[in-house]
Amino acid sequence: MKQKNKISFFFVTLLLGLMLAIQYQSTNENENLDTKDMWELRERYIEAKDYEAKLIQEIRTIDEKIAEYKKVVEHSKGTVLKQTLEELQTEAGLTELSGPGIIITIQPETSFFPIDSAPTGYVSPDLIRKLINELNMYGAKAISVANQRIINTTSIRDVQGETKIDGFPLRTFPIEIKVIAEDEKTANKLYNGVQISTIPDDFFIDNLSVSISEVKKSITIPAYNHSIKVDVMETVKDEGEQ
């Protein structure tokens, strides 16, 4: 065989080998194909379905268990007690509250007086009490006077010529009275009620002017910051189950 012929043979066999290898690899890949017939595939499908159903059932039982546990926690005595305590604290005024409401500002009236004889401003406890009563009448949920939360046992009284709310003197003007209501509708009612009430006139007699703000979306009223003294109260003895 001549040298030249050998080279052409070499290249032809090289190409043939390359093609064979590629073809081998390509067909080899296809051998991994699923060659099961329809019934076998059906069986496997059914098996997979069964497995799926089993898994779903398992998930459901576990979910149920979670719900049960949640229920147990919710209805446990501790949670109920805690919840009741929170509710009572809110009712008693021991928690901060916020909601829609109005702000009433009280200032000494100076415009009718010469500068040197202007009144220093004195808010009588009766006025404050009347205002609070009226506000409660119009549906106030919580009230604070000069950032002092008004609760059922709050004392508003005159101590040596100074009006004190739970010991806090109303000395600095303007005095802000924050009132919040349950919702915006009640807040509007509250606003209207204060507008038509005779309270501003009563204040004016004492040389005080009252300005009432529009209904605000969110007003925060501080918590009652003194301890509540309970003198004439006794716990009810449980006579039932024990």
Binding site: M1, F10, F11, G17, L18, I22, Q23, S26
Partner: protein
């Protein structure tokens, strides 16, 4: 004699090492090309043994056969007729004929050398 075998080995090694893969739809063409190449190779060996070997015919036959077989398969796919079977048939028959001729030539050579 060793050079064509070496070429085959190198070709296979290259093909396996480069990890080239042909998409499924083209594997038909490649298989028929392999068949054409094999046919040309066996034809070349036969021609060489018969002393009628012509390099131009061999090389051109190699590529022409591959292209023809592949285009026949292509046409078959588009016509909806398995035309590549024609190529397979033709190459198969020729492959067997050529191998038979090679066998006879080798046999006669072997018996001649035995007599001597």
């Amino acid at each position: 004699m060793w050079l064509p075998i070496l070429g085959l080995i190198i070709g296979v090694a290259m093909g396996l090492l480069t990890d080239i893969q042909i998409p499924d739809e083209y594997s038909n063409y490649l298989s028929i090309a392999v068949l054409a190449a094999l046919d040309t190779l066996v034809g070349g060996i036969r021609a060489h043994l018969q002393n009628v070997y012509d390099e131009k015919i061999f090389v051109s036959g190699f590529f022409f056969n591959i292209v023809l077989a592949a285009s026949l398969a292509f046409l078959g796919v588009h016509l909806g007729v398995d035309l590549y079977l024609a190529a397979v048939f033709a190459f198969g028959v020729r492959l067997f004929q050529n191998i038979a001729i090679i066998r006879r030539i080798l046999l006669t050579k072997w018996s001649l050398s035995k007599k001597e």
